[in-house]
Symmetry: C2
Subunit: 96 residues, 2 copies
């Protein structure tokens, strides 16, 4: 993973609301959750939630699939894995 991509993903996770969204979706499993279900858990305005979700989607940490009028969001586990790998590599280089 190139450093720009890593920095972008880290920046998006570096906001409490977005990290909470991501955590909720990770824990929800591959099936994911509807936007409305996330909103119920977080209790924030829809426009704010939508803004944060779209940022996470933009960097590849989430995906969305439409099912009728419901949009389901899913964590992209492999992206987090790649990000963790990047951080781990950085960490272990130079470690005694």
């Amino acid at each position: 993973m190139q450093i720009e991509m890593a920095a972008n993903q880290l920046a998006e996770l570096g906001h409490v609301t977005r990290l909470e969204i991501y955590r909720i979706l990770v824990r929800a499993g591959h099936h994911g959750l509807a936007v409305s279900a996330i909103q119920e858990k977080l209790d924030i305005p829809g426009s704010t939630l939508s803004h944060h979700i779209s940022r996470l989607v933009k960097v590849g940490l989430l995906s969305q699939t439409r099912e009728g009028r419901v949009l389901r969001c899913q964590a992209q586990y492999q992206e987090l894995e790649r990000l963790i790998d990047f951080l781990s590599e950085e960490c272990c280089k130079g470690c005694d």
Copy 2:
């Protein structure tokens, strides 16, 4: 680790220049590097560099020790480990 701390650290790593600073220091080993040595590698103004370093210090990802007129910066490996652990836990909950 509580989510606010994780978000703070992620946000600080979520900037290309800071992530580069952190990577350089991780790879430099426990002994760390002087600010001036980092500056040579990155070629950015001192005031900008100082600003970014202080942000990384503030969230505990770096420490600094003065040696005469040189300030040496060191990566706090255990903080990155804790952050990675936080992310890994979030990831594996709900994973099939």
